[in-house]
């Protein structure tokens, strides 16, 4: 598989949230606003890249029987470092993401990619895979929070993660018709369900077209 495919598959074909359905705990919880989603995406990309690279560098040294414990220790250390950095440099984001930054440790994406890809491939491949998966995750979370914020509050806003008072954009489209259910937990489930249904619809149509072409 060439290098560009390794990177590209994480974005759409094997998107961690929409296709592989990994890491849903954090995806549903932090998608209340675009700023949170972007911040969490950045954190996950950092941890994923670093863990993939480190595990790929160490893959020949780690004995095969104790692979999983070593992965868990490496990932926990990285997440704690990222958490402390976020506490220092992005305090507003740290407050709003709360307990879900430490929960990146048990996020299935990171341990899953480490187990299935980084422990078997070289450093450059692992780096590309991590970047693709991380960007796929960020894209998915941004899509979910776009819908939740738009329908839930009637507007969109994005703040600078490093400086909470700086507004990148803030649009208010409709205030009176917002359905505040979507900022609540129930709305998260419903939004993700509808997005997955849409993707499944596209997949079914593609399969039907392929079958028709085959029959001809």
């Amino acid at each position: 598989m060439n290098k560009f495919d390794t990177f590209k598959k994480g974005l759409f074909i094997e998107n961690p949230i929409f296709v592989l359905l990994l890491g849903l705990c954090s995806a549903l919880a932090i998608t209340t606003s675009l700023t949170n989603a972007l911040g969490m995406g950045m954190a996950v990309i950092c941890v994923l890249i670093m863990s993939n690279v480190i595990i790929s560098l160490l893959r020949k040294i780690i004995p095969n029987e104790i692979r999983i414990p070593v992965f868990i220790v490496i990932i926990a250390t990285l997440v704690k470092c990222v958490q402390m950095l976020m506490n220092a440099f992005t305090p507003a984001l740290y407050e709003s993401l709360g307990v879900f930054i430490p929960l990146i440790v048990v996020n299935c994406i990171i341990l899953g990619r480490a187990e299935s890809f980084a422990s078997k491939n070289g450093v450059v491949d692992s780096l590309l895979d991590a970047l693709g998966m991380g960007l796929g995750y960020t894209f998915a979370v941004l899509v979910i929070s776009f819908f939740r914020e738009l329908i839930g509050t009637g507007g969109l806003s994005l703040f600078n993660p490093f400086d909470a008072s700086q507004v990148i954009f803030q649009v208010q489209l409709f205030g009176d018709y917002s359905v505040s259910l979507f900022t609540q937990p129930a709305g998260a489930f419903i939004t993700l369900g509808c997005i997955l249904a849409f993707i499944q619809c596209l997949k079914i149509r593609k399969e039907r077209k392929a079958k028709k072409v085959e029959e001809k």
Binding site: C25, S26, I72, V79, V105, P185, L196, A197, I204
Partner: protein, 190 residues
């Protein structure tokens, strides 16, 4: 009395799955048979209660006196993982019947957000040991109830007349959303 309201609050109102999103992966991934869901619930209850007690003791009697509270995350995840391994080995040696019914789900509990989430929440809410235990019990009872109800509903959804694009995970998520709405309705209880 506070303990009772803490229990009811964490089990129903702030249900760990439907309102705090902690254990969503097992909710969608574990078998659609209610009996297996119940076994998963038992395994999770066992691990969460013991983990709450052990992590609380370790935090307050080891990490705080030695001033290494920045190691809390690594400590908790290593303790939880060791606990799961130890419980599985213990069940394998002493009781094959129990291992047969619920031991299969034990390795999955390590990456269950709920266990680590409960441990971290207990610390940030500054509970004492009794409150931490009750919180752990409440979280796991809430999880078991939700996962059991969800398995029974999914059993019926398999044969229901669902539109084709919604079959499988999408309709399950929307069902979870409706259940979350129902729980939000009793938010004023505690």
């Amino acid at each position: 009395m506070e303990l009772v309201s803490l229990f009811i609050g964490l089990t129903f109102v702030n249900n760990v799955v439907l309102s705090k999103f902690y254990a969503v992966c097992p909710l969608l991934g574990v078998s659609k048979k209610p009996k297996n869901a119940l076994n998963m619930g038992y395994a999770v209850t066992f691990v969460i209660v013991i983990a709450s007690i052990v992590t609380h003791i370790l935090y307050h009697f080891v990490l705080v006196p030695l001033e290494i509270t920045y190691l809390d995350l690594i400590t908790f995840i290593l303790v939880i993982a060791s606990l799961v391994q130890f419980v599985e080995m213990f069940l394998k040696k002493t009781s094959p019947e129990i291992y047969k019914s619920m031991g299969v789900y034990l390795p999955l509990i390590t990456t269950n957000c709920a266990v680590l989430g409960v441990a971290l929440d207990n610390i940030s809410a500054n509970y004492n040991l009794i409150e931490a235990t009750v919180a752990g019990l409440a979280v796991s009872v809430g999880f078991t109830i939700v996962i059991y109800l969800f398995a029974t509903i999914r059993e019926r959804l398999e044969i229901a007349n669902v539109p084709e694009s919604f079959k499988g995970t999408p309709i399950a998520l929307i069902t979870a959303g409706i259940m979350a709405c129902a729980l939000a309705g009793i938010a004023g209880l505690v």
